[in-house]
Structures are given as C-alpha cells and as structure tokens.
Symmetry: C2
C-alpha cells in the first residue's frame, strides 16, 4: 500500500465500479470545458489513436491469449471512437474536419507512448487511456446536459481497464525484470499524458491557471498511482 | 458490366442488402461444416487477424478520413471477433484454446495478404473478409440451429464492406495507376483466400471432393468478381 496521503480521495476508484455512477465529489473541470466541437474532435481522435497503437501492439503479442486481450481492448477504444463520432454527426459537423486540428499533437503523443514491446504498449494504453478518459469525463461537466450524459456513458463503457490490469499484473508477478522496466516506463508515460491532459484543458477559452487546476492534477496523479499499484508497480 | 455468365447467381449481392436476409438459393456448405468448436475457433481467430491487419494499415492511412474509415472497419471485425468469442464461451470452452490450432495457418495468410500500402491493405480486407465471411456463413448451415442463427447475425452485421468499397473506388477513380496495381493485387489475394476457404471446408470430417465443391467455388469467385467490379477493377 503506502502513499496513504494520496488515497484519501474516495471519488476515483480503479477498476471503475460496475454501477458506473459519476463520483459525487470528483473535482470537475466544467469551467474549462472547450466548445463541444473541439471537445468531441479531440476525444474522438484520441480514441482512434489509442486503438491504432493497440493494433500495432497486437503484432507483438506474446501469446494468442495476449492477442485476444489486445483485440478486446482495441475494440473498446473503437467503441468509444464510434460513439464519439456518432455524437459529432449528431451536431451536423463532418467527423473528419472535427478531428483534423488534433491530429498532429495526438499523433506525436502516440509516437512517444508507443512502447517497444507488447507489455510496454499495454501499459501505455492502461496509463494513458485511464488518465485521459478521466480528464474527458471531468471536462464533460461543462457540456450541454444531453450531450454530456451520452458522452460520459460512451467514455465509461467497457471493462477493458480491468482486463489490461489482469493480464499485465500476472505477467509482472512472474517476471521481476519486467516489473522494473515497466515501472520506469510508467513514469515516462504519465509525464507525456499529463501534457496532453493539460492541452485538452487549455483548449477552453477560460485561462487555465495552475492554482485552480492543482487539485485536479493531484487527483489525476493519485488515480494514476492507484492504477500502477493495481499492477504491483511503483508509480 | 461484362462477365455476364458469372452474374446469373442471384443469391450473392454486394453490398449486402440492408435487410440481411439469408439468400434462399445460395449453395450451402452444411455437409462440410466442421465441429462447432473448430468452426468457432477458426472464425474467431480469423476476425482477430483481420482486425490486426487493419490496425497496422491505420498507421499508413493517407488522411484522417482514411484512418477513421480504417478504425470503423477494424471495429466491425472486432465486433465479429467478440461475438464469436461470446459464442465460444457459451459452449464452455476456453476461447484461447479454441483459437490456438488455427493461429499458424491464419498468421501465415495474414502475412501474405498484409499489403504494402494502405490501399493494398484495405483491398485485402475487402477481398478476404468478403470471401471468407461468405464461406463461414455457408458453413454455418450445418451447425445446431440456435448457434447458427446467432453466428450468422454476427458475421453479417456491420456496413464495413460498403464503407471500404466507397473509399477505395473513389481513390481508384482519381488514380489510374492505383487501379492497375490494385487489380494485380486482387488477383494475388483471391488465390490465397481461396486456399484458406478450402482449408476451412476441409476441416470437416466429410471428404471435400472437388466435384461437390465446384458450384460453391464458382459462386465464391463470382461474388469476388462482383466485389472487384464495384471498385471499377477487373477481377
């Protein structure tokens, strides 16, 4: 256990509770929500990019089981992508144009977080998707009610995080060298991911001053620490 | 048009009719249906392998629109994979063990049909999935009724074939060199795909003599020709 001071926030549990209720005392980011079109374009392209990384990772899966898990997780990312695209189409905007402005930054993020092995790629998905889905759920607080409800449902659907945690933690248990490599890799990942989170928050018109955002980042990092703990890794 | 003699079989239309009724006079392969476990393991791993190829292809997509199409099509393959896995789990068998025996042959098929460009990979998916989904729907005729109905629904869901045809044919229209390259590639693909179709049919206990199978292969090739025609390519 340890790191007790970061565990007092009861709102962010991992794996997510099956009832999928929005935690009541999660620090929301409604003041920093960008325009619906910006929000959706960014979120939709992010899920597409996550699925693309998983598609590449499938090629180096160490077993059929690992490959099937990768497929299941990629399918969940693509479900979110499709759900967000449906939401874009509901607004009447062309999906491609909504995603275009976010391609360069997210592609660069994807390159930096691709991972050299299947294990690294799966950890990357677990860490990056875990943190960024959380950010987008919080940012959704400032969206029109009906959009928000549908979007949060899309983002919180699927049990892929628990699936990844299960397959990674059993691999880590049986190989201590993997544990130390992945702990290092996790530290690198969280830095890159927080930069993307920061960019998503700064896409609003509201100036995103650090003081107001500090409690949010504290929660995001605490949730990340719990995710790494669930794998038996030090964050 | 042309190739009129291969067009008399009214049962196989492409793109599939939206009502998704099973064509009444399609030559079925019920006599050659393998055991349910063999059928499902093979079909499930095939969809996983198809999605993996698409995941790789996404990396060389020439535009955001192309990448989004790739994601949509990969999502449809993963939907089928997950539907078939659910069906395996319903039988009480472990999904991984059911897929294992089919990995080597399907991975080799995937390598041979990977394609050097995004266009080649998308054509590969269109040709291979089009033909093999058709084979598996026909083979399903010999499965127990309730399994069969669910499996056929899984295999026939999605509008991804029409989506691929649309994006490829508009690319081909605007680049004649692409047309000749892809026509050649299509010929190579259909050979490899028919070998996999043959192996799927030969997995039954029934001896798959060529005379009984000839009308089926005639229909499969006619459907392939129509698929290539829909892209403006000579089969």
């Amino acid at each position: 256990m340890g790191r007790g001071s970061q565990r007092v926030v009861p709102s962010l549990q991992w794996p997510r509770p099956s009832a999928r209720q929005l935690p009541v005392n999660r620090v929301e980011l409604g003041d920093f929500t960008p325009d619906l079109a910006v929000y959706l374009g960014q979120a939709a392209y992010l899920q597409l990019a996550l699925s693309e990384s998983l598609g590449r990772a499938a090629g180096s899966a160490p077993s059929v089981h690992a490959k099937a898990v990768t497929g299941r997780v990629a399918g969940a990312a693509l479900d979110r992508h499709r759900g967000l695209i449906a939401e874009i189409e509901r607004t009447g905007n062309p999906a491609t144009e909504s995603m275009e402005p976010h391609v360069a930054a997210i592609d660069e993020f994807r390159r930096r977080t691709a991972g050299a092995t299947w294990y690294e790629s799966m950890l990357a998905h677990y860490v990056c998707a875990g943190l960024l889905d959380d950010v987008f759920v919080r940012l959704a607080a400032g969206l029109p009610t009906d959009n928000r409800d549908r979007i949060v449902r899309v983002l919180e659907a699927g049990d892929d995080a628990a699936t990844v945690a299960e397959v990674l933690s059993s691999s880590i248990e049986s190989d201590p060298r993997l544990a130390s490599r992945l702990a290092l890799w996790g530290r690198r990942l969280v830095g890159d991911t927080l930069l993307v989170a920061r960019a998503a928050i700064s896409a609003s018109h509201e100036s995103a001053d650090d003081e107001r955002l500090e409690p949010v980042f504290t929660e995001l990092i605490a949730a990340h620490t719990r995710r790494m703990d669930a794998l038996g890794l030090t964050a």
